[in-house]
Structures are given as C-alpha cells and as structure tokens.
C-alpha cells in the first residue's frame, strides 16, 4: 500500500534561518506531489506542485522554494525564514487522476520566532 512520510512534525525556527522540510512517498511511482500551507484557522493554500522529477510549479510567489530530486521525494526550502512563514505545512500525493483524490501527510507545524 502507498504511504506518505513527512517530517519533522514540529519545528521552531528563528527569523532569518534556513528551512528544509522533506516528504517521501512509498508504494507508488511517478506520483504528483504537492505542498500546501495552512495558517491558523484558515483553509489550505497550494504552494507548489510537481508532476515529475525536476518539474516544479509555483502557485504563490513567496519566500519558499521546492525541489524534487527523486521520483518520490519532495522538499520545501527557504533560505531565510520570515515570521509570516509560520503555519502548518502539508505534503500530499496523487496518482495523476482524481480517483481517490489526494493523500496527505501528517504535516509539519512550523513556528518562526
């Protein structure tokens, strides 16, 4: 069966520090991968999505970047965090069709202080 792993679960980082969040998927190949962010009490904002290795689409211009170095690995990065980067970050994958929708990871709670 397919599983998605996301870490760390929580992270507290100072303003100006770098960020690296990793997401990996097991049990499938060539998944579509997504990064979402959720501010407290708000809906999910799509940040990046990828349909293949090295293919990244950005939805929102911001302080973040994403990379897909391997088929089932998706990384969210920042060179210098801002206070506004705080939030709940979720990675998700899909099989390229809408059947059964997306499967989300357990999320990373990022607090920038």
């Amino acid at each position: 069966s397919q599983t998605i792993h996301q870490w760390p679960a929580t992270l507290v980082q100072p303003v100006g520090s770098p960020l690296s969040l990793e997401c990996t998927v097991e049990g499938t190949s060539n998944p579509n991968l997504y990064w979402y962010r959720q501010a407290a009490g708000r809906g999910l904002q799509l940040l990046f999505y990828s349909v293949g290795i090295g293919q990244i689409s950005s939805e929102v211009p911001q302080n973040l970047s994403a990379s897909r170095p391997q088929d089932r690995q998706f990384i969210l990065s920042s060179k210098k965090l801002l206070l506004s980067d705080s939030g709940f970050y979720l990675c998700a994958w899909s099989g390229g069709t809408l059947e059964y929708g997306y499967t989300f990871g357990s999320g990373t709670r990022l607090t920038v202080v």
């Binding site: 579509n32 997504y34 689409s57 998700a92 390229g96 809408l98 997306y102 989300f104």
Partner: protein
C-alpha cells in the same frame, strides 16, 4: 478551476443527519466533485467523490443534481468524532490537475 462556495460553519447534535451544500456554478464538463474532512493538526482525508447523480460509501453520500452546479454531502447519524472541517473541491481528471481548497465548513457536533 471552478470556485466553490460553502457555509462557514454548521452545528448539529449527535445522531442527526447533516447535509452540507456546496455551490460550484462554473463547474466544467470534465470536473469531478470531491469532499475532504480535516481534523485539527491533521492533513485532510478523502471522504467521497462524484461526477453526477448520487454516490454512497461507508462514510457519506454525495448528491449531485443534473446541472451539477451544486452538490450536497450527507453525513448520516453524526457523532462527536465527526466534528471537523469539511472541504468541497472541484477539479478535472487530467494528469496535471491541482486541487484548490476553499475555507471549508466547520461542523460542530454537540452531545
């Protein structure tokens, strides 16, 4: 991508049936309608998906009228554990589709 509109919040009591309606007036021919459930500090979880008429699974039912401009998620006999945010999404089935989440409906189930 079709925009969706759903109530911000709803209240219910244990054992009642809850119906959450979502409007998607600009839905495209090849768009599907999908509902997700999200508990606090967790990722959304797929509940049900449909294209037209009615779909039922072990968790919920999804009613879609002929014009497909709206859909209704029906949760039979809710329990306290159904307290969550419910998102209605519309998207196409091509390989590069991306789902855009709205604000969702915050359902509170009371004892």
């Amino acid at each position: 991508l079709a925009k969706t509109t759903q109530p911000i919040s709803m209240d219910s009591y244990e054992g009642q049936e809850v119906n959450i309606t979502c409007s998607h007036n600009n839905i495209a021919t090849n768009d599907y309608i999908t509902w997700y459930q999200q508990f606090p500090s967790q990722g959304p979880r797929f509940i049900i998906q449909g294209y037209k008429t009615k779909v039922t699974n072990e968790v919920a039912s999804l009613f879609i009228p002929a014009d497909r401009k709206s859909s209704t998620l029906s949760l039979p006999r809710v329990s306290l554990s159904d307290t969550a945010v419910y998102y209605c999404l519309v998207g196409s089935v091509d390989s590069s589709y991306k789902l855009i989440f709205g604000s969702g409906t915050r359902l509170l189930v009371r004892p």
